[in-house]
């Protein structure tokens, strides 16, 4: 029996951050993780997918240079890709990062136990480890169990039907890939495989891609998909996957009610993620639910005293950085601090081509702002840096949403190459309560993409220079 002050269940970006912070605060901490440290984010999500997207982008750029070449660079023959080696390279990155997490946990004096924790009451769990069964009893339990890819009825994972996890470990590039679900995960991977040479078809039940972002933001992505030859079936549903003689075909009912059969080597189902609430004894803990999620308050407290829950387990947005912020906060709460989870905004990024970022309110959220808004945008087509990296023609822009009465910035969105790297400044502006004047009064380095943010703010004040 291990007795500890803090037990963290799950070694993802929520759990491991909570454990490190608890350790830093001198709290005796045990972290239980059944798989590898780093969780979905490091092992089968953010990091590996970005590695694959990077490799795909490089490969695609080189393919573009075959023949007449691009911007003066020409290749005599088409590049080849050995996806096995790409995956090995990706695994190297993941190994390095998960190893780093292990070192940080050790440094914080966190005891890591490898195994699957099953609770028998709210403060006690048994962990099946390689050495045997451990019983852990803690004063505080932080649940950071995370989420798993959601499946569709009739499309159980297995065989040609894969989730994002398997898509990141394929040994070869599929000739034909059907992606079910045009959310950010599906489009990121669909885009990557298209760049790697797959024929990609995207089937989405709703009438538009990336339904969580507004249409002006997603239009450049839709245009890229169309130009790249990705087939889009919007308002359509995959009814089933037929298997015959080793070949698979997805039967799709289109918007017009017609059924088409799409041959596919792989059917990638990306219809969201489900909180992992089964299989670890949650029913024995007497904690309340809010829909499919664990119910928490603004301090991540569950309905059971001294049981805390963070990350994907507790609701949208299911993003690593939200989980980390919650984990850090919970550790400090246990350490005796007064804390509350009250971000002004949580940024969201979509690594399609071009990339999309959004933080705070969009133009269509005017109702919730309760006031008139200034919405102003600046196109990357007028930004020197975007043009100089051949990224000025994808329809990208930065858009600022501010209150009309006092010019306080409420939201910022952007679409364009590399805009994911701008989101830190966007979020900081909102957290600091910046006015359009504050952004306009900040000198932005030239030549950088950030100038578009500067100009969009100036434009909101009626004094843009470069447009």
């Amino acid at each position: 029996m291990i007795r500890t002050k803090v037990l963290v269940v799950g070694g993802g970006p929520g759990g491991y951050v909570a454990a490190i912070r608890a350790g830093q605060l001198g709290l005796e901490t045990v972290l239980v993780e059944a798989d590898r440290l780093g969780g979905t984010c490091l092992v089968r999500g953010c990091i590996p997918s970005k590695a694959l997207i990077h490799a795909a982008g490089k490969f695609d750029d080189m393919r573009g240079c075959v023949g007449d070449g691009t911007i003066g660079i020409a290749l005599r023959e088409a590049p080849t890709i050995d996806l096995n080696r790409t995956v090995l390279w990706k695994e190297g990155i993941v190994d390095r990062l998960t190893g780093g997490v292990g070192v940080l946990l050790r440094k914080a004096k966190v005891r890591v136990i490898e195994g699957w924790a099953t609770f028998c009451d709210a403060k006690t769990c048994t962990v099946r480890t390689r050495e045997g069964v451990e019983v852990i009893r803690a004063e505080h339990v932080i649940l950071a169990n995370g989420s798993t890819p959601a499946s569709l009825p009739g499309l159980a994972f297995g065989g040609p039907v894969i989730s994002s996890t398997e898509a990141l470990m394929l040994a070869r590039v599929p000739d034909r890939l059907v992606v079910v679900g045009a959310g950010y995960i599906g489009l990121e991977l669909g885009t990557a495989f298209r760049k790697l040479g797959s024929e990609v078809t995207v089937v989405e039940a709703r009438e538009r891609i990336l339904p969580n972002w507004d249409e002006p933001l997603t239009n450049p992505v839709r245009r890229w998909l169309e130009r790249a030859g990705v087939m889009l079936h919007l308002g359509a549903a995959v009814e089933m996957v037929e298997l015959s003689e080793g070949a698979a075909a997805a039967r799709v009912r289109t918007r017009d009610g017609v059924t088409v059969s799409l041959a596919a080597d792989q059917v990638l189902v990306t219809v969201g993620r489900r909180p992992l609430t089964n299989g670890w004894g949650m029913e024995a803990m007497a904690i309340d639910m809010a829909g499919p999620f664990v119910r928490i308050d603004d301090r991540c407290r569950t309905s059971m005293r001294d049981v805390w829950a963070i990350g994907d387990l507790v609701g949208e947005p299911m993003l690593a950085h939200k989980a980390s912020a919650q984990g850090e906060m919970v550790a400090e709460l246990i350490g005796g601090a007064r804390r509350r989870f009250d971000p002004m905004a949580i940024p969201a990024v979509c690594f399609t081509d071009p990339e999309i970022v959004s933080v705070g309110l969009g133009p269509e959220d005017a109702g919730s702002a309760g006031t008139d808004l200034i919405v102003s945008q600046f196109p990357f087509a007028a930004n020197g840096r975007a043009l100089s990296m051949a990224a000025g023609d994808d329809g990208g822009f930065v858009r600022v949403v501010a209150r009309a009465d006092d010019h306080r910035v409420l939201g910022i969105q952007a679409v364009g190459t590399h805009v994911s790297e701008l989101v830190g400044e966007f979020t900081l502006a909102i957290e600091m309560g910046a006015l359009l004047e504050d952004v306009a009064g900040t000198i932005h380095a030239h030549p950088t993409l950030t100038e578009a943010f500067h100009e969009a703010s100036m434009r909101g004040l009626g004094r843009a220079i470069h447009i």
Binding site: G336, R338, R339, M344, T371, R403, D406, R408, G433
Partner: protein
């Protein structure tokens, strides 16, 4: 357009200099005739000096705490007429630079050219950057940086209550500090005492004005005077009976009597036999001046600090007159309306904390006086009278004497005389 140099006027007899307590105007502000310009303090009275002219302030001399000599330049006004400088000469150049105390806020005298040019406008404020709190639009979430939000939360303060002075009402650390200092946070903080916040801020208070005066006086008194303190216990049962009787008899038609008029009366009776305690000691000249008149200082707590109004010629007043004079002076002093003459010239001082009088105090002598009488709390105690334990109303007198000129023996005799008078109150009125 001309300049008007305003010099510190004579603010009271024999006053050579005054201390700046606070300015009502700043360089660049426009003042009308009789608008308050500055508060200055002399001795123990604070005087508000009004502007003799309308105009725009172009220079001021002295920050709070600085001493300005009477007749020295206090401020310079740009005025709208030609009879510019009837009082204090037109200043046409740097010659008008303040001659007295350092003036960190004032420019080094206006440059010659500026004499004809209009004074510069105060820097125009950007509309979106007012330094006063902006009312928050209804329902709008208060704007504050993550660090400010976290600190407020740790202190248990809801941001909605804090006026934000930043752009668009943004709440900064300074706003939070001001809110905490205002004391308005108390109710909020106690409403959620989940954890006691650790408080690290240190408030610096410049010791100026009356507070500095008190500090200097106290320091001088303790430094120069070897205090001899003597505490005696009084049975005030009879006195309290008499007081209650008189108050009951006259109800509301007369002033309610406190203990102080009786004690004053006792001093009037006792002092002729002890002239050494009703005296002022000029220790530099080496002269003790024994006063026939008894001017009783009454130590009084005001919102500004300790002040000592004076009951003049107590020997000429009867009990009711003493009561009404004490009451009038206390009120005037608390309201800041006491004039200089009412705040100086005492020969012997009484200090009383009323119900907070405690058992014993060690009063500090109001130099150059040589004695101070402290009144402690009245309590009912079991005491032995004629072999019986009885309950009596008891009170201590804690007095301090300047041991250089008052011997312990004499001091003790004096206090015993007071005791005799107050324990047999009839003797207070038997000539």
């Amino acid at each position: 357009m001309g300049r008007f140099v305003f010099k510190l006027p004579d603010v009271g007899e024999g006053i050579a200099e005054a201390e700046v307590v606070g300015w009502h105007v700043a360089v660049g502000s426009t003042v009308g005739e009789d608008d308050p310009l500055v508060d200055v303090m002399t001795d123990k009275a604070t005087v508000e000096i009004p502007s003799p002219r309308a105009g725009r302030v172009v220079a001021i001399t002295g920050s709070p705490g600085d001493k300005i000599r009477v007749g020295a330049e206090l401020l310079v006004l740009d005025i709208d007429s030609d009879e510019a400088s009837q009082d204090g000469a037109v200043s046409t150049g740097p010659a008008a630079a303040p001659p007295a105390a350092p003036a960190p806020k004032a420019p080094d005298g206006p440059p010659p050219a500026a004499a004809k040019a209009p004074a510069p406008e105060p820097p125009a404020r950007k509309e979106t950057e007012p330094s006063v709190a902006v009312p928050r639009p209804n329902g709008a979430k208060p704007s504050a940086s993550p660090a400010v939000r976290r600190r407020a939360h740790e202190l248990g303060i809801a941001l909605q209550f804090i006026p934000g002075t930043g752009p668009a009402g943004r709440i900064g650390h300074a706003d939070l500090d001001a809110y905490i200092a205002s004391g308005r946070s108390a109710a909020v903080a106690t409403a959620r005492p989940a954890r006691r916040a650790r408080l690290d801020n240190i408030e610096e208070i410049k010791i100026i004005g009356l507070r500095r005066r008190i500090a200097e006086r106290m320091q001088e008194s303790k430094r120069r005077i070897p205090h001899y303190s003597y505490v005696e216990e009084l049975d005030v049962t009879a006195l309290e009976e008499l007081r209650a009787h008189l108050n009951a008899r006259h109800g509301t038609e007369r002033l309610r009597l406190t203990l102080l008029p009786f004690l004053s009366r006792a001093l009037v009776c006792a002092v002729p036999r002890f002239p050494q305690v009703n005296a002022l000691f000029d220790d530099e000249a080496g002269i003790v001046r024994r006063h026939a008149a008894l001017h009783i200082g009454i130590a009084t707590q005001t919102s500004q600090g300790l002040m000592v109004p004076v009951v003049r010629h107590a020997e000429t007043l009867d009990l009711w007159e003493l009561a009404s004079e004490i009451s009038r002076l206390a009120a005037a002093t608390r309201d800041g309306k006491a004039v200089r003459d009412e705040l100086s010239g005492s020969t012997l001082t009484i200090t009383s904390l009323g119900p907070f009088g405690g058992i014993v105090t060690t009063p500090v002598i109001n130099r150059p006086e040589v004695a101070i009488i402290g009144v402690n709390r009245i309590v009912e105690r079991p005491v032995v009278r004629g072999g019986q334990i009885v309950i009596r109303k008891m009170m201590n007198l804690s007095s301090s004497f300047d041991h250089r000129v008052v011997d312990g023996w004499d001091a003790a005799q004096f206090v015993q005389a007071l005791k005799g008078l107050l324990e047999q109150p009839a003797t207070l009125f038997v000539e």
